[in-house]
Amino acid sequence: MAEASRDEQKLWLILFQIKAIRARLNSLAVQRGLFWTLALGIGAAAGIVGAALTLGPLSFLTIAIILGTAAILGSCIAARSAWQMRASPARAAAIADSRADLKGRLATVHSLAPTDHRSFLWPYLIEDTYGARESFEPSRVEPRWLSRSFWALLGAILLAVLLFEGALADRTRGVVVAGGGVAPGAVTADINNLDIRPADPSLSPNAEIYADPATLKRLQDRIAQQNAANGSLSKLVDKARSFADAIQNDIAGRPRDNQPPVQMRLTDKSGKPDDGSTGAQGKPPNANAQANAHSSGGGATKDNQGNGQNQTPPVGSAAPNSGLAANPGKPGSQNPADTQNGQPPDTSLADGEGQGSDHGSGSDPSSLFGEPSAQQLGADNFKIAIDAVPSTEASGPGSPGYLPPKVRAPINTTQYPDEPLARASIPEADQTTIKRVFER
């Protein structure tokens, strides 16, 4: 009886160690599922925030969808993997057998322990297995108590912290990352260069347009025409863009509706001449308290809104609350350097402050030619898109031309000073002709 009791004790100890192994294995499986799910969630959230701070609305939306889907799928896979890793007592015994090289002793003991059909070799098996108990201690079978997936979680947290720190630093420097910089709130554009599309009706306007009545009428016609021609896909894209922009604003902590309006002077070079002396109105460009014209869904309706903000709007970003897009980069547009700023050539830029070209300006014909630059010559045009709505305060005939104020914005951290224009190789026969042109 005493021997049988000792056998039972040994059996109990063996089974207890199997249970301990199982607990450790299951703990690791749970940790794996939990840590991976958290890591994926945190990593995806960090990625989405990073995308919100650095990308445009549609890119942000795409990245956010991809990251969100990947995080959900990854979490499902991690949970499934953890579920598959879980150890039943039999599996724990088999794993211990394998890792401790016990050749099936534990699996046999575990599976035959509850049965009565034991061989007369059973005591031998118990004794044999008990003698090897040190080799299947839980700490030997599975030395880890913390899953390796913890490092994934740690990495995700570090990534999130780094992104958060970066975003915080940008905000404290006062730099609006999305949009790419600060620009004056006044531009001049030719209506022929405008790419007009309807805005989301749920959004408020964020630009003011000044033009003579004929130009305004032409603008309205084009808006109506564009509105009729627009397909459902572009409407969907517009909605997606607006939606993404709103989310971006929420994530980045930017206010939605308090951006100052863009002041845009609209001209019509193909129609009656508008050189700035006719049809312009004397509206102060930065009088933000003035009423905005809102062309909702293509500019069919207009309402006035006060906007008392005095912030500098981002240039190049889709001003989310407007209804038009100007595209001055199209063929036939006037010189962007002039039209975009709405300023005459700014001589103050050549005063050594490093913000403009310092040679080949045309003021000195003797400096027109020289050694060709090494850099590649490319097309000196660019594209810029803004959203705008026409203003009811159109300039009338005979009114003084609208002269936008000189605005000089400091270069921010993401901008670089202009580089010198590249020189081309000019044949000597042509140089005299060119010189004469500039001497005039």
Binding site: D97, R105, T108, L112, F120, W122, E127
Partner: protein, 348 residues
Amino acid sequence: MSEALAIAAERVTIADFARVFRRIQGEVHKVIVGHEQAVEQLLSALFAGGHVLIEGVPGTGKTTLVKVLGLALNLSFNRIQFTVDLMPADITGTRVILSADGRREFSFQPGPIFAHLLLGDEINRATPKTQSALLEAMAELQVTVGGTTYPLAPPYFVMATLNPIEMEGTYPLPEAQLDRFLFKVQLGYPGEKELVRIVSSTTGPEQAGIEPVFAASEAAERIEELKRLVREVMVAPPIEQYAARMVRATQPDNVRILGNERSAIVVDAVNRYVSFGASPRGAQALILGAKVRAMLDARANIAYDDIDGVAAAALEHRLMLNYAAHSDNVGAGDIVEQVVKAVRAARE
């Protein structure tokens, strides 16, 4: 007997099994050079209670191996040379008329089948009818002649040899006959070193003397004890399932044979080259062979490795290959190897 003494006795028995096994091996290898694996499989089949089919080209020591085994075990031994004109009665025995005291009566004259160890030399040279005369003896340890059943004395161990060449005028063994052999042992040509040893040991004046491991009076009983001990080795249900899965994996995915229940593990080579897979006797052979291996390792339980170790010997001769296998020169050994790999991978 107290529990401690029982354990000690079992330890001695398990250790004794390995000792006896190794001693028999040693005696056999006094004459048989090389073929270590074949000898081990042969003895495993003996202690597992099965029979062995030995395949090898002429001159590789098939008959010698069996003879030496008989001498080492000190058991009664008979040899039958199977020929095409051999009749079943030549094997089982027949009733003859004997006259005693002026009376003539039928008396049963036992055939060579009545021995502990039976060597059926070149069994494939006899007709299927004669081959089948062994079926009852192998499966049920009895012989029925003229309506009378005569039991065979245990241990009863049939070793049949097959010559894979000179196939003209031979009769391939029926599937039912093949299935009754626990293992099929392959005897290949010896290597150069082994050949030198064979030449030197068999062409000299002195022949190696075989010393019986058991006394003649106790040999049969001792072997039966060891066979019973082998049966006591424990098997965990997952390992039984592993063996069953391995046998199922040798069966081609044929609805006509298997019904709608498909094998959990599908091996492409099986579906392509196998007409009929292993029978349940294959699973029994796996477990019994594994039990002997476990005993040799001083274990009272089977491990997965034990099953893998006997898979080739236990399953190869149970696979019926089709013509595609012959044309592609694919053997049963290749297929069993793939099956073992697939089943092992599924376990891991």
